[in-house]
Symmetry: C2
């Protein structure tokens, strides 16, 4: 008898999105021909930057000839991209990284899912709540989440509540975790931490010897000067933090697949027999053993994001989404709703009025306005009573959705 | 103290390829200007099929316009590719799969590395020896390999010797393993199993409730009619085997990144509390949680491999490499060397003459002929005394290498 990984069996099916699909199908069956507007999905709609398109055409052409063919690339990513990342994403902020501290991958989701492998199974983890479900589910699979509790939490995971009551600035954990997942700008709330607030986390990790996985997938949406673009702007972070980045929400690479993870040489973990182990060579070992590099075509497309034209085109796309967010924020507020995020992130976090639950307000917006959102309760217990809206839609859809919402409330 | 995964620390650095690089560097320092021919690396050199190039250009253009843009695709792969795979790779062999038994990925290496996650940590594994190192290393990382032994084996892994003495047909394990990795056509030996030989493995797995991971990355190189192209040609395999495929060696996708894994609905594992668990939804859960789909561009390129033009172009590339293999086989044999593989696989497995070790013969060929090979001992204890040569080089290089080798012996 080959025995299955018992921890996989603890996971329920991904209830959230199948339940949304179920309710949408039911609505459409009862209201044939009605045009739904989907504001729930975190996927982009703008085309890729022209600079990336051109670079990917050139890359495809290179693969068409034996003289310019590229086979296996370095598992860590090509030097041209690692160097562009260091030069453009970090050096201008005064953060000096070496290209070999950058690992290019097929996307941030893979990296956030895999990074936990580097820790011992009994490691304890903390997440902010509400939370991007990958942090939790992958730790369930790894056998370090404990058992599911009736309140939707897992027994061995520390949940750090992030709500309007604490201004979406979660308290530091009371008992130290080995690993802390932070995502800022935050998915799903769209809120951020200031430099001073993020410094508290870095200081905590330094004092308590915790590792921070900092998910900065939405960094391109930051506008306020007091919000750090990378955790390495905080002194000492280069000893306690791994940072994960994505080209998905920046340059529209959700279908192209490219991201990267920064593992500074200074980040160490304690070894079982005493002493410290550097994380960089461990992640390198993981990636060279289990991964064969991101697509050459995607890497050339990502490199082009850093050209003057590419940067200008990315700014335009981000600006388009942020104009959506501005328009949505204004409309929701003028409708008397309580809403957060949307100024430094592509997500809006909408409080259900009148004490409704997430699913009640979800149903209301579906039935009265034909708008599909994402119930906040799907992101964790502290998401109850909220909905997540994204600004990634087309302009006309966002505007139409806001008109319908104002009429339907 | 965040404690590191202790199993990672058991792995030595990837000694094989760094040691090869070291010896090559040393040789070049002593012999400046000499032109080395690399026959050791398993990477392709022919350009991509023109059909894939055209399809990828079209895919890139789709991403350039909001009307035809593709964002996140299904984590399991697009229907167009899953259906093409089922229709072209399996149906003609009488194997009827459903598209939802096919999971498209960024390559066979990722899938072979990740599939072990579905089993409980104490699961026992068996590998043929010599072996593709990923099977072993990923199980070391997972904590199920035990401790390294002085003979190069791991204490909890069963090694099934595959040498000239047993005709490269390993014996069945004496003690049942939970998981058996089989790779046929084999990397590194280039040898194969006939239908009758593979049937013994499937029957063994059925009788002993073992799971087989069948790595068929080199399937396109099979020429003899008695060699199965998929393990599902063997009755009952659909209840005990997962099959992993790649577009890398077939269509030159080593840099593009696309492969797939077949997890039939009938494959089950025993659950801790009794009963059986179907593997297909577990792998689906794994992929949807930890992976975000292969690149849309790569998937369109892979789909084009199945067009009449694409199939013709793939046959040409495979034919080119197999003509290299034929030429190399003939030359090595006429030089009086003992050599295996090379008729249904792109690998040749060369016996070191005169009782030399792998490294001794490696050094001899490097110094006397300027040829870089891969020492068989790097693939496991039973690889000692052999070298791996690949047929993936350019024709002129293969021919020149054989002339040098005949002169240098």
């Amino acid at each position: 008898m080959s025995t299955v990984n018992p921890h996989y069996l603890k996971l329920s099916a991904s209830y959230l999105f199948s339940e949304i699909a179920h309710r949408v199908d039911q609505y459409l069956a009862q209201n044939p021909g009605s045009r739904l507007i989907r504001l729930g999905i975190g996927d982009v709609t703008r085309p890729l930057p022209a600079a990336s398109i051109e670079a990917m055409h050139r890359a495809v052409d290179e693969l068409a000839s034996a003289d310019t063919f590229h086979g296996y690339g370095p598992e860590q990513g090509y030097g041209f991209l690692r160097e562009a990342i260091v030069r453009h994403d970090f050096a201008p902020l005064g953060v000096n990284l070496s290209p070999d501290e950058v690992f290019v991958s097929d996307g941030a989701k893979s990296d956030t899912a895999n990074i936990g492998e580097l820790l011992d199974t009994p490691a304890t983890i903390a997440v902010t709540d509400p939370v991007y479900p990958v942090y939790v589910d992958t730790n369930v699979m790894a056998g370090r989440a404990g058992e599911p509790c009736p309140d939707g939490r897992w027994s061995r995971i520390t949940y750090l509540s992030s709500t309007a009551e604490n201004g979406f600035v979660p308290d530091l954990p009371r008992r130290r975790p080995d690993l802390i997942y932070l995502c800022y700008p935050n998915n799903p709330t769209g809120t951020t931490l200031t430099r001073a607030e993020l410094k508290r986390w870095v200081d905590y990790a330094l004092e308590n010897d915790s590792l921070i996985v900092f998910d900065a997938a939405y960094e391109a949406y930051i506008t306020h000067p007091d919000i750090p673009h990378t955790i390495y702007e905080i002194p000492g972070a280069e000893r306690v933090a791994v940072e994960i980045r994505s080209f998905s929400k920046t340059a529209g690479f959700t279908g192209v697949r490219c991201g990267y993870t920064v593992v500074p040489h200074g980040v160490t973990l304690s070894a079982p027999g005493g002493g410290r182990v550097s994380l960089n060579p461990l992640w390198n070992r993981r990636q060279t053993t289990k991964f064969n590099g991101a697509s050459y075509i995607a890497q050339r497309g990502a490199e082009a994001v850093y050209t003057p034209e590419g940067r200008q085109q990315v700014r335009q796309a981000v600006g388009y989404y942020m104009e959506n967010a501005r328009l949505m924020l204004a409309a929701l507020r003028s409708a008397g709703l309580e809403v957060y995020g949307g100024t430094d992130a592509p997500y809006l976090w909408l409080k259900a009025p009148g004490g409704q639950t997430s699913w009640q307000f979800f149903d209301h917006l579906l039935r009265c306005a034909g708008i599909v959102t994402t119930p906040g309760s799907g992101f964790g217990p502290s998401g109850e009573g909220y909905l997540r809206l994204t600004a990634f839609g087309k302009r006309d859809d966002c505007a139409e959705a806001m008109r319908r919402l104002q009429a339907g409330l």
